[in-house]
């Protein structure tokens, strides 16, 4: 698939994963690169951008005794942004689907 398509969507995917539960960066990278054909390193710049945009924030947690892990979590703004973008994405996808499958155009 064209890389230009993916770029914008990846941000939405990251937000979606974090909407379900907090994750550390590696988690998100693994989750996405198993499903979408991108290099593993691509997710980190996105996380950083989301952080600088105030969509996500990080905290340290030492759950399994090892070194503290940096967890990412959605901010209120990020949550709002996600729900809105999700809505927009769904309706956009619906229309694209319609255009792709429609045999004849509706005439104006």
């Amino acid at each position: 698939m064209n890389i230009q398509y993916k770029k914008g969507v990846l941000e939405l995917c990251v937000l979606a994963i974090l909407y379900r539960h907090d994750c550390y960066g590696y988690d998100i990278s693994e989750f996405i690169s198993k499903r979408i054909d991108i290099s593993d390193g691509t997710v980190y710049p996105i996380l950083r951008k989301l952080k600088s945009d105030g969509m996500v924030t990080t905290y340290l947690s030492e759950d399994s005794g090892g070194p503290p892990r940096k967890y990412y979590t959605l901010t209120d703004l990020g949550e709002k942004e996600f729900l809105q973008s999700k809505e927009e994405w769904s309706s956009f996808i619906r229309v694209v689907e319609e255009i792709l499958t429609e045999g004849s155009h509706e005439k104006n």
Partner: protein, 235 residues
């Protein structure tokens, strides 16, 4: 490429691209290596799957620089938008008041049309005229009311869309054109658009014909082109 080489190259590339907070980024990639190594991958494999350090650094640079070097501009922009929003806000309030005014006008016109046509004259508000004139004027005003109602609906959608486009434009200025700009025309389905258009055309036509017919009939009936003088309307 070994982990240590990968991180070194990444550091150099990030430096070249003037990316801020390099330590934090390197720590993230270091961690990535550690997890993958724990899963049994070789360092070379991991490095290959991560993507070239040059490309990664370029991605950080692309996402980083706009927001950091425009931060000053952003504050200015926010201030400017604060003032702009005040005026634009007033504009939108006025526009919506206009929509409401138009809506009231259309309802009034429709009611007037009905009361004329049905010879309903509360408090003798309607001056004398033969009933045929009243019916014709009634029809004319009724359809003027419909026309105004259709205009109100369209104007409402138009202003709503304009508001959305404005918000989008403002959001874009802050996010570095993340979103595509919105059209300023309302996105009505072609069915709705067709309906609005033909309903407006019919309303306009009936309004015009009924008005002309009412005038001609009244003028003939009163025997004067300025029939309202004959019927003492404005005294």
């Amino acid at each position: 490429m070994k982990k240590i080489d990968y991180l070194k190259t990444l550091q150099k590339e990030l430096n070249n691209n003037h990316v801020a907070g390099i330590d934090e980024i390197l720590a993230e990639y270091d961690e990535h290596f550690n997890y993958k190594i724990a899963d049994g991958y070789s360092e070379e494999e991991i490095a290959a799957k991560l993507g070239k350090p040059e490309q990664i650094a370029a991605q950080f640079a692309a996402m980083d620089t706009p927001s950091s070097y425009r931060r000053g501009n952003k504050i200015l922009a926010a201030l400017g938008f604060g003032f702009l929003d005040l005026f634009i806000g007033i504009f939108f309030i006025l526009a919506y008041v206009w929509v409401i005014g138009m809506g009231v006008f259309s309802i009034t016109a429709i009611l007037t049309g009905f009361s004329l046509g049905l010879n309903f004259n509360p408090g003798h508000l309607v001056p004398f005229m033969p009933w045929q004139s009243a019916v014709l004027f009634g029809i004319s005003i009724l359809f003027l009311g419909f026309l105004a109602a259709l205009g109100t609906i369209y104007l409402y959608f138009y202003i709503r869309q304009l508001g959305k486009a404005f918000v989008q434009w403002q959001k874009n200025t802050f996010s570095g054109n993340m979103y595509p700009p919105l059209s300023t025309n309302p996105l009505l389905s072609s069915k709705a658009r067709r309906f609005l258009r033909s309903a407006a055309q019919i309303s306009l036509l009936v309004f015009g014909i009924a008005l002309i017919a009412a005038y001609i009939f009244s003028a003939i009936h009163a025997g004067n082109l300025e029939f309202w003088h004959v019927w003492h309307w404005f005294v």
